[in-house]
């Protein structure tokens, strides 16, 4: 006996899936934007002069990398209100994903930093730039270009991980798909369409990023 695929009911709710996709993208963009700030600060601290700074970064990266994202999301969602910090579920999820991506980006940026030639940094110091100016105007731009491909991959990873927001009832793509399942019972069709959307979106992001990389040629 065969299962006959019927997509009709899915197309009727296609706009919900698309709005779910948009929410997922929005969550990923916000989280990676904030995570990039965390990652930059942490990467510079990890090669910086302050020993306490280096220790904090080591702990941050170690804790986050050993924690499943779902657990981190639930922890932030349920624990912060107990600590008196009121966040809506979007803010809480973006915060968790930012922490998560920040730890991975720390590694990405640290690798990018070690690839910045020492002599170039010394040249910046030699013309009288302060340590901070050197970081901002010389080290960071070179490092970001080194890190661009990995940064793109991390972004795609975070977009896929935005599906975990379904666990706290954020109406992104996975959540919408589950809802359509309940309403239509076309379970297989729904997941086929949802998968197609994830794949198409990731593919589109990847080709955008490739274009960006070409805009900024390797040195």
């Amino acid at each position: 006996m065969g299962y006959t695929l019927q997509f009709g009911a899915i197309w009727a709710s296609f706009d919900k899936l698309m709005s779910g996709l948009a929410i997922g993208l929005g969550l990923a963009i916000a989280a990676v934007a904030i995570g990039t700030c965390f990652g930059l600060l942490a990467a510079f601290a990890s090669v910086g002069l302050s020993r306490i700074g280096r220790m904090i970064v080591t702990c941050y990266v170690m804790v986050i990398r050993n924690l499943p994202l779902l657990v981190l999301v639930l922890l932030v969602y349920f624990a912060l209100p107990q600590a008196g910090i009121r966040l809506d579920k979007y803010e809480s999820f973006i915060g968790a994903l930012a922490l998560y991506s920040g730890a991975y980006l720390t590694e990405v940026f640290r690798a990018g930093l070690t690839a910045v030639p020492k002599g170039v940094v010394e040249a910046a110091r030699a013309i009288g730039l302060t340590r901070i100016q050197t970081n901002v105007f010389v080290t960071a731009p070179i490092m970001l270009r080194n890190a661009l491909p990995s940064l793109g991959n991390t972004f795609i990873g975070m977009f896929k991980d935005s599906s975990i927001a379904a666990a706290i009832a954020i109406p992104e793509l996975t959540f919408q798909a589950r809802k359509i399942n309940v309403d239509t019972f076309r379970v297989v069709e729904t997941w086929i369409v949802a998968s197609g959307l994830y794949i198409a979106a990731c593919f589109a992001i990847a080709s955008l990023l490739r274009r960006l990389e070409r805009r900024f040629p390797k040195f």
Binding site: V120, I127, R131, F137
Partner: protein, 257 residues
């Protein structure tokens, strides 16, 4: 009275890396407008000396006085303290440094390389910085290359951009560390000519070089270093004439072959 006070005075400079003593009490004086070349065998401490003057290295004892200001350290209650980053940066901006390996900023164009220090250290506006940069790039013969990135330039052109970058800051003193050693032989002369040009314009230069003929042609004085010490300090005619010390004679014999 200006000639009384030297522009750069290094007194009893001691520097060690861990337990290895690299500079063992170096004394050296430069007057304004003077061109001094340092020669000496590999490992004698020439690069380290320049890096101390530009405060890229710390040193353990001695003084470096630039235009009347003791740089790098302050003495408080008889103890030496390394100055703060901001202060060190200000003092570094008074000397220019040209490196053996160019070290251009790869993400900036030739003009951008020259402009960065003008904008962020000298605080010039964008237009003014650009016009100073263009002027220096044409001075080193690269007017048409100002929008090229370092990766689009030959080694000789990159080194000339580096020279423009150092000189545009209007430093009191320019340090040049084997600026032609990393170049293909056919590109050496264009860079040496550029250095000769700025020397003729009256810049004060401290040059580490293995180009003996260049040292003889361009310098007012030549300093021979050996094992972390200044062994000879004399006009080129004397250094390359009847060499007095045996170590210098030996060094010159080895480099001429």
């Amino acid at each position: 009275m200006e000639n009384v006070q030297p522009l750069l005075e290094i007194r009893g400079l001691h520097k060690h890396f861990g337990s290895v003593e690299v500079l063992k009490g170096v004394d050296l004086t430069l007057r304004r407008g003077e061109v001094v070349s340092i020669i000496g065998s590999s490992g004698s401490g020439k690069t380290t000396l320049l890096r101390c003057v530009n405060l890229l290295e710390e040193f353990q004892d001695g003084d470096i006085v630039l235009d009347g200001e003791t740089i790098g350290y302050s003495i408080v209650n008889g103890r030496r303290h390394r100055l703060r980053d901001r202060e060190l940066s200000r003092q570094r901006s008074m000397t220019g440094m040209v490196f053996q390996s160019f070290n251009l900023f790869p993400h900036l164009t030739a003009a951008g390389n020259v402009m960065l220090g003008l904008r962020k250290v000298r605080r010039f506006g964008k237009e003014e910085a650009r016009s100073i940069a263009e002027r220096w790039l044409s001075r080193v013969g690269l007017a048409s290359r100002s929008d090229h990135y370092p990766s689009q330039l030959s080694g000789g052109q990159q080194q000339r951009v580096a020279i423009a970058r150092a000189l545009a800051m209007d430093p009191k003193l320019v340090l040049l560390d084997e600026v032609t050693s990393a170049l293909d032989p056919e590109l050496v002369q264009e860079v040496l000519n550029t250095v000769k040009g700025i020397a003729d314009d009256g810049a004060t230069l401290l040059i580490v070089t293995h180009e003996m003929r260049f040292a003889r042609d361009v310098s007012h004085r030549v300093v021979f270093m050996d094992q972390g010490q200044v062994v000879e300090d004399a006009p080129p005619a004397e250094i390359f004439g009847n060499s007095r010390s045996q170590r210098l004679a030996e060094f010159l014999r080895n480099t001429r072959t």
